[in-house]
Subunit: 617 residues, 2 copies
């Protein structure tokens, strides 16, 4: 067997690869892992490599299709498609660009998807349409195509006809017809059956997460998460509604912002994966009622006024062009149904992903977000209430808060009488994100720096070990804890947790904990009857259940009954994207959920105030 | 009875009007006609007057509604709403602006409309929706409204929901709901049942005519006609298709042009009538296949290539927003069905308006236009062919051709051995329009200035009476007839009919006459079996049947069997606008019409050449 030298960077490992074997196979054979999400079939971009030395082989069709012109020109190739013919050196899966955000929202489809049968509802079939040939015979391109498909003109949007004559004639009538139910979404020349993608989108008040999936396998090809750009017009729902009310132009502004962001996300996932936006035929969107209304351009003013009624609640299916989304213009955009003014499609997504309404045991799901929700139920009944936590746990509105990106403090603990920090990517600390804040407060409670009322105990600092003592101070009139000094442990700057930050977190966890307490009370469920508490939200893998319990973010259950389930709302969207059965199930769930309006409840105020305090151990 | 002096201008007639009577009633009482199309109900603008002296009374709601702010401020009032309280002088129905085009395309609905039962399909009902009141109860604005209407969410476009909450709350839940079939088109606060309008549009290759109609009465409120602005990219279909083929941007350009013009027309009829565009809920459009495709942005390239198949043919109903028409965004735009690549919805409109397929006798309908059609049939069978006449009879592509506007020569005759001319509005001659050209050529044939082959007989001019002799000359290499010398009869400039103009008309009439001859031949119908020939086109009231026969534009039938029916295609659109039964009938007609492709017929070339010549008397 002839072998050829294959050098894999950045590890600088040189293998003797069999002449003519693919780079992927050679690497795997030698025990070097190259991710190949699609199993080496040329259907994703995860196994891409960049040629660093040696002749770059001519691109294959799959290279062109998946990586796109620009990357191909830069010397990227799919290692599953590329055979070793002469000595070369390649860089394995280098980042496609310089951004290095830790994608928090992207939950791998995991168990939930594995349990559901994949049927996204998007069908592609190759047909050959006979073109009109005779002048007297009265027919049209469309009629000839419909005859083959057995469909009616009503199934086809006139917008689709704009390019029909060209598509039909490019490959002598051979076209791939994409349908969703009875609706014809696309007619493409030749056989494009392999190209079938969809997006799952979770529009939160503070964060937006978009995931690109291959619709046949359920494979996740790319994911992007960013701040909701509407936040500059108001961090929470009420201020955003107030802004929209101000004048009609503001409503348009809010709408334009979110549509613009979604289109940026589409560009991004397209670039990351090599999937062209025109191959995206289905989009599932979840979000709270206000986000939903704003996306549709519906005036949300009255959602913010008692009785907080939504303008509409039913599940919607719209062509992408009506929402100005730059995927295939006929792609179906499915908005999951709403429950109430402050319990939206995101809660429905959580219920869908957690199966909370399907077990004989009673469970609780807590979705932590700027506008969080709490669900409690079993297969018998299912309740939900909103938990307007504010953006503190998404890193917003804290002095040094930030998203879960490179350099965010995501873990805090006590060691040798001082605070210890961990940052995302082990980078110099830039700020603190949600899981870090929960850890920090739990740690400060442990260390007696915070008392149960949330006060930073400057007065008692003399009792503290020396290193900790130096961290507690009063700046101007404000009590602060210095989490990191500039330069300390490579910190990029001084990072503080202020008294006001602690109050923000108290409001936040008060909303969530009181929501859970109220639902238990209304449902008549004692703590020992709760078989599981599922904690959901965009915290990535870093949320400490122990810390969450310590600060009283969640009810005091045994830690063994508490599970962090990731971004359940986004996962719900992915389920509805991958399965029409799941999407139908979302409608049943929305109708089942019993909405509880906490503010209207006489006990609520007391419970809330109580939940604002930290548990006294 | 107290009376008050009322002076009516421009006639300067002064009446003694009963104190407190309306101006309209007082004028009518005194035998002065003021047009009141709506019967004096304040629902149109035809009885408007402008106050010239005396106090201008405060405007009524109807004044504001119908005339709009600007006109009200200029002193316009509806004479049916305005009571005479003190001596005043008013100008009766002065023109709303300075343009004084003679609207040729606007056929008054006349007999045809009188025969059909009016049912435009647009329903308005006033309902009171109870608004959500209770926080726990799960409902939405839309659900409350649908419960009252007995409809489902699928009947409502999400775009309609954008303003729903405000509309519902403006008059405590009282709204007028407009529907078309099961579709909800509008929800307006209060009672707007009186406001219900529609547009009939005829998009020709050269001219576009838009008519605004009140949907309850069928009353025509305004009409506007103008050149198709696509013409700068090609006067006939084939050159326009070639332009579209050149690149995709051109197709967009053509589409933008026609959509832009339609929106100008909408603005214009709205201004002329005081009807707000948002009260226009239905639009019916006819046009040839190419115009239809361009309006929809459908690539017409293959319509111009054998076998000239359209991309689609079925009747379409679309929301106005999808066509970018600035009427009510949810207004239904109905495009009548097509028959073949060169027999479009205009031909269907002609068949609808003339009832050609419904009589036991065989009749012929000739629609004269740049892309004319000929229909022949009875209730047994119905044939149609295209007659690509070119734009000569619409005043285009002739040396001094013009549309049928102020100053156009519209009649020509021989008197005292010389030509006599009539111009529209008796204004100084500016050019010659279609009916004038037909008259001119017939007259020149009579005077032996033209021979049967179409040659301007310069050689024989010495035989002519002196005044005529001076009109025939050779300029450069071109034979010309001087219809008017500059200053002659007040002519604004010299107006010529050139040899080339005559050839253009010969091509034009050759296409039409040969179409009629071929259909007779194919149907096996002898001339004496043709009970009626209907001449249709945008000629206004000025077309001379005698001249049309003289030049052989139409087959040589007794003049008594020939009738000019006006713009039948536009009338067909009006019928479909005013009656859903008629719109359904259009679909039956389109399926019945048997398309005859003349070019594919072996005899055609000979017949066509023969028809190019003028009849030898």
């Amino acid at each position: 067997m002839t072998t050829v030298a294959l050098t894999l960077l950045p590890e600088r490992r040189t293998l003797q690869a069999p002449h003519g074997a693919t780079i992927l196979a050679s690497a795997q054979e030698a025990g070097v892992d190259i991710t190949a999400t699609c199993g080496g079939r040329g259907r994703c971009t995860s196994c891409r490599v960049k040629f660093v030395s040696g002749a770059v082989p001519p691109p294959t069709v799959m290279d062109e299709l998946q990586l796109g012109d620009a990357l191909v020109r830069e010397g990227y190739r799919l290692s599953c498609q590329c055979r070793v013919m002469e000595p070369v050196a390649v860089l394995v899966a280098p980042p496609l660009d310089e951004r290095s955000f830790q994608i928090l929202g992207a939950q791998s489809p995991s168990e939930a998807l594995a349990r559901v049968e994949i049927d996204a509802g998007i069908r592609k079939e190759v047909v050959t349409v006979s073109l009109p040939k005779e002048e007297h015979h009265q027919t049209s391109d469309l009629e000839e195509m419909l005859a083959v498909l057995g469909r009616t003109p009503d199934d086809v949007s006139p917008a689709l006809l704009q390019a029909l004559p060209r598509a039909l004639r490019q490959q002598r009538g051979e076209v791939t017809v994409t349908t969703f139910g009875s609706r014809v979404l696309a007619v493409e020349p030749g056989d494009t059956r392999l190209l079938k993608f969809g997006l799952a989108v979770d529009i939160g008040t503070t964060s937006v997460v978009t995931t690109l999936m291959e619709l046949e396998s359920g494979e996740e090809l790319a994911s992007v998460s960013s701040l909701n750009p509407q936040a500059v017009f108001g961090a929470d729902l009420m201020s955003r509604i107030a802004f929209a009310q101000l004048d009609a132009g503001n409503l348009r502004k809010l709408r334009t912002r979110i549509v613009g962001l979604l289109n940026q996300h589409i560009e991004q996932v397209a670039a990351d994966s090599g999937v062209l936006p025109k191959w995206i035929y289905k989009v599932v969107i979840v979000g709270n009622t206000c986000m939903h209304h704003l996306l549709l351009g519906i005036d949300p003013s009255h959602v913010g006024l008692a009785p907080y009624a939504p303008v509409m609640r039913h599940a919607l299916v719209l062509p992408a062009r009506e929402l100005f989304l730059k995927v295939n213009p006929e792609a179906r955009v499915c908005l999951l149904p709403l429950v109430a003014g402050f319990v939206g499609a995101d809660a429905v997504g959580v219920a869908l992903a957690t199966r909370i309404g399907e077990t004989p045991e009673t469970r609780i799901a807590v979705d932590i977000g700027t506008n969080g929700e709490v669900l409690l139920g079993s297969r018998d009944r299912l309740w939900a209430c909103s938990a307007p936590a504010g953006p503190a746990l998404e890193g917003a509105q804290l002095r040094h808060g930030m998203r879960g990106a490179l350099g965010a403090i995501d873990q805090v603990w006590l060691e040798d009488g001082d605070l210890r920090l961990h940052t995302i990517g082990d980078a110099p600390a830039q700020g603190i994100c949600g899981s870090g804040v929960i850890d920090a407060i739990a740690t400060l409670l442990e260390a007696d720096i915070l008392d149960w009322s949330g006060l930073i105990a400057v007065e008692g600092r003399d009792r503290l070990p020396a290193p900790l003592r130096g961290r507690v101070s009063v700046r101007g009139e404000e009590r602060v804890v210095t989490l990191a000094r500039a330069g300390e442990g490579g910190a990029a700057r001084e990072i503080l947790l202020t008294q006001d930050d602690v109050r923000q977190v108290q409001l936040c966890k008060g909303a969530i904990a009181s929501g859970a307490a109220m639902l238990q009370r209304i449902a008549g469920v004692a703590p020992d009857q709760v078989s599981e508490l599922m904690l959901a939200g965009g915290f990535g893998n870093y949320l400490s259940i122990r810390s969450a319990l310590r600060i009283g973010l969640i009810p005091p259950l045994p830690a063994s009954r508490i599970r962090y389930v990731g971004n359940a709302a986004a996962l719900g969207a992915q389920l509805a994207l991958m399965s029409e059965t799941e999407r139908a199930r979302a409608e049943t769930i929305a109708r089942r959920i019993e909405h509880v309006s906490l503010a209207a409840h006489p006990d609520f105020q007391d419970v809330f105030v109580d939940c604002m305090n930290f548990p006294r151990t």
